[in-house]
């Protein structure tokens, strides 16, 4: 492996991080929104969310990517690889996040909600002060778990021509016919990224615990 080869895998890591962060930042609140629609039993839209989550959980990421990238131009919407990848990854992770948030909401003690109601808190205040802090705490492990899975889902985007860690490693192996060294470098980089994420989770949890 040449110095450039190492550099190219690190560049791939930047793509992996960019795509993961973008889809997580968009997908976590989107998942919360979807979960709230179901939790609040909004007529019609509640059913739409159920259908959306089912379809997304059944659809492999590669399939979704190919559909968005190759099939949408048939309907006049031609996306570049990066937006197409972010769209697909966000759509996927939002469905899983929806279920994590929903689990947290289902476990939320109803009497607290009623108590908040009884002291006359408005709907948004009830959510901000009472519901959200608690479901965030309950949902955090599940959300971080989904984030690490999301990082590992990114190699699927190679199919539409984006070079992330795995693809960068594959390219080197294809030239040298010795694929193992680049994959070891790839593994190290993935580990580092996930490590940072887990550290972040620990910190948030410790801070929450300190608050009581």
């Amino acid at each position: 492996m040449t110095a450039y080869d190492y550099y190219s895998i690190v560049q791939g890591a930047l793509a992996t991080i960019l795509l993961s962060v973008a889809s997580i930042v968009l997908g976590v609140p989107l998942g919360l929104g979807l979960a709230l629609i179901r939790w609040a039993r909004v007529p019609f839209f509640g059913r739409v969310v159920v259908a959306y989550v089912s379809v997304m959980r059944a659809c492999p990421m590669v399939t979704l990517l190919l559909l968005i990238y190759f099939a949408l131009p048939q309907f006049g919407l031609s996306l570049d690889p990066t937006p197409a990848a972010i769209l697909a990854l966000t759509a996927g992770t939002a469905a899983y996040n929806c279920e994590v948030w929903r689990a947290a909401l289902l476990n939320f003690p109803r009497d607290q909600y009623d108590a908040a109601l009884s002291v006359g808190m408005s709907r948004s205040l009830r959510f901000r002060r009472i519901v959200f802090p608690q479901i965030l705490k309950a949902g955090l492990p599940g959300l971080v778990n989904e984030m690490t899975l999301q990082i590992k889902a990114t190699p699927a985007v190679a199919v539409i021509g984006i070079v992330e860690i795995t693809r960068a490693a594959l390219r080197i192996g294809a030239r040298t016919y010795e694929p193992l060294p680049p994959f070891v470098v790839a593994l190290v980089l993935y580990s580092l990224i996930v490590l940072v994420l887990v550290k972040l989770q620990r910190r948030i949890e410790r801070r929450e615990a300190a608050k009581g």
Partner: protein
């Protein structure tokens, strides 16, 4: 009985490729469904290309020596040939470098005007694509680990052989298997891979006994790693290699073909063949559709 069935027993790596192959098949079906209900007039005509100012092409990134990445730059036979075409085309070329599995679907759905890749012009593919004048020729060979007991193509009976999924070499391998069966015993198993690097790696690890690919690619493999592999014999008939456009997109084909034929006349195409492929093919026909 089909031999190339469940590759899951072969190795974890192939299990993954078997799964993603299924995904791609499903998604292709969906893409085709979209194709039939949407309007497929996206493939641009010569006028449209001139007015929008670019031709969009897709190239592979891991098919040495035809196309691969070196120091972040797409290089190899097809890329250097494309560089010569760019000089005379009159419009810019937007090139997307991506894995093989996305290239032909990208051309059929109109995302790209042309596949600038070593596409084997098989009869099956001629139903969906129009090919330009050929850029080289290919014969499917097999390669083994150095010192393997396979001395001739017939020795592959009872062995496990790998090839790239959706490739013409895989079709050749399947046909070869049928011939073997007529003579007695067929291959033990055909393992399909997403790309050749994985196949070579499994060959090096001894998970498979041979890999079927074009002679040119296998020669390049052996040139890079003479300690590990040897090239065997032919298991298919010669086929032309050419760039491809969507069936009926003759405008684009003609535009580029004029330049390719010019490059034959002035000998630059043959120089590139010599440089990258180690051989020249001087008696290729002008049209193979």
């Amino acid at each position: 009985m089909a031999v190339h069935q469940d590759t899951r027993n072969a190795s974890p790596a192939t299990a993954v490729s078997a799964r993603s192959r299924q995904r791609i098949r499903v998604s292709l079906a969906l893409a085709l469904a979209a194709l039939t209900c949407g309007q497929a007039a996206w493939a641009a005509s010569a006028d449209e290309i001139k007015s929008r100012g670019y031709l969009s092409v897709a190239t592979e990134d891991d098919y040495t020596p035809f196309e691969f990445m070196k120091d972040g730059v797409a290089t190899g036979y097809d890329n250097e040939l494309l560089a010569l075409v760019r000089k005379q085309l009159g419009v810019t070329v937007k090139q997307q470098v991506m894995p093989w599995s996305g290239i032909l679907p990208g051309v059929t759905t109109g995302k790209f005007d042309m596949a600038v890749s070593a596409v084997l012009a098989t009869d099956e593919r001629k139903k969906t694509f129009d090919f330009l004048s050929p850029t080289s020729e290919a014969v499917t060979f097999y390669a083994t680990k150095k010192g393997a007991p396979i001395k001739a193509a017939a020795d592959l009976a009872g062995k496990v052989v790998g090839a790239e999924t959706g490739s013409a070499m895989l079709t050749d391998l399947k046909n070869f298997n049928e011939e073997l069966k007529k003579k007695g015993a067929g291959l033990k198993q055909i393992v399909e891979y997403q790309g050749y690097p994985e196949a070579y790696q499994d060959l090096a690890l001894g998970r498979i006994d041979a890999v079927a690919n074009t002679q040119i690619s296998l020669m390049s493999l052996v040139k890079t790693r003479p300690d590990a592999f040897t090239v065997g014999q032919a298991i298919g008939k010669p086929v032309f290699i050419a760039w491809a456009v969507k069936k009926g997109n003759t405008d684009v084909a003609r535009m580029v073909d004029a330049i390719l034929l010019e490059l034959r006349k002035n000998g630059q195409l043959y120089e590139l063949q010599q440089k990258w492929l180690g051989v020249t093919y001087k008696d290729m026909p002008q049209s193979i559709n």
